[in-house]
């Protein structure tokens, strides 16, 4: 799957994982896909949940390395 926008959140912790992913989603168009990379374990659960709570669609969450995950989200609203 191809992402329309990439966001590297390695080294970021709460609340900036949320603030930055929220900003990145605001900056893409409805229907576009954002790829977020995180290395902060709670963010693997948190970032998708916050994005769902704001009405977006979480397409996948996958480990891509030791303690690194990729989150794919489609902007809905």
């Amino acid at each position: 799957m191809k992402a329309d926008r990439e966001l590297d959140l390695k080294g970021e912790i709460c609340p900036y994982t949320f603030v930055k992913s929220k900003l990145a989603l605001e900056e893409i168009a409805v229907g576009e896909v954002l790829r977020v990379v995180v290395d902060y374990p709670p963010a693997v659960e948190n970032v998708p949940r916050s994005m769902e709570n704001e009405g977006n669609e979480v397409l996948s969450v996958q480990p891509i390395g030791p303690s690194q995950w990729e989150i794919m989200v489609r902007k809905v609203g």
């Binding site: 912790i13 709460c14 609340p15 902060y40 374990p41 709670p42 693997v44 659960e45 948190n46 998708p48 949940r49 916050s50 709570n53 969450v61 480990p63 995950w69």
Partner: protein, 185 residues
């Protein structure tokens, strides 16, 4: 008992009872707005009472407690400490407790630790008040200390010199008894 401990330690804020309901229906009056769990604990320490049900926990501005308190299971990566899924409601404040939360200064933790006969603490600064101080104490039935997490430090109203200790009701009773005996001597 928790109030005896409050006097003994010279606590500024009241101990907060946290009741974790598993399977029982949620009491009415789910918390409104989008505070954090840490905020609600701080407000409960000043006398308020809140109910978190599945709807109100989703409205919190921090998504950690939903996972840590067992309202849902993790989907993508296990995150600890947490209570297994199956929680139907959490009541913060009031008198009935599965876990007592104490908002303390480090100096007060020193005195409390002595009363407890020592503490084996475990914290990493993530999922702190909800995980380290509530969920872990509930699961292990052992006191724990949390230095809070970055989000809580930034978004909630805790002072830098405030930390949170979670105690089981049995530990609170035992410590209360020790204080009582100490007075008699």
């Amino acid at each position: 008992m928790p109030h005896r401990l409050k006097r003994y330690l010279g606590m500024e804020l009241a101990p907060v009872a946290v009741r974790i309901l598993r399977g029982d229906p949620a009491p009415p009056g789910g918390a409104t707005g989008s505070p954090t769990y840490c905020d609600l604990v701080l407000r409960a320490a000043r006398g308020e009472r809140f109910v978190l049900d599945p709807a109100s926990v989703r409205r919190l501005s921090c998504p950690n407690p939903e996972l840590a308190l067992g309202f849902r299971e993790p989907r993508f990566a296990d995150v600890q400490p947490r209570i297994e899924g199956g929680t139907t409601a959490v009541v913060i404040g009031g008198e009935e407790a599965d876990v007592w939360l104490f908002i303390l200064t480090p100096a007060q933790v020193t005195r409390l630790a002595t009363l407890l006969g020592g503490m084996q603490v475990s914290f990493r600064g993530e999922m702190a008040v909800c995980g380290e101080a509530t969920a872990q104490v509930y699961r292990t039935e052992k006191a724990n200390l949390s230095f809070l997490c970055q989000g809580c430090r930034e978004l909630s109203g805790y002072r830098d010199d405030q930390v949170v200790v979670g105690l089981t009701p049995a530990e609170v009773a035992a410590v209360g008894k020790k204080i009582e005996e100490g007075r008699k001597r």
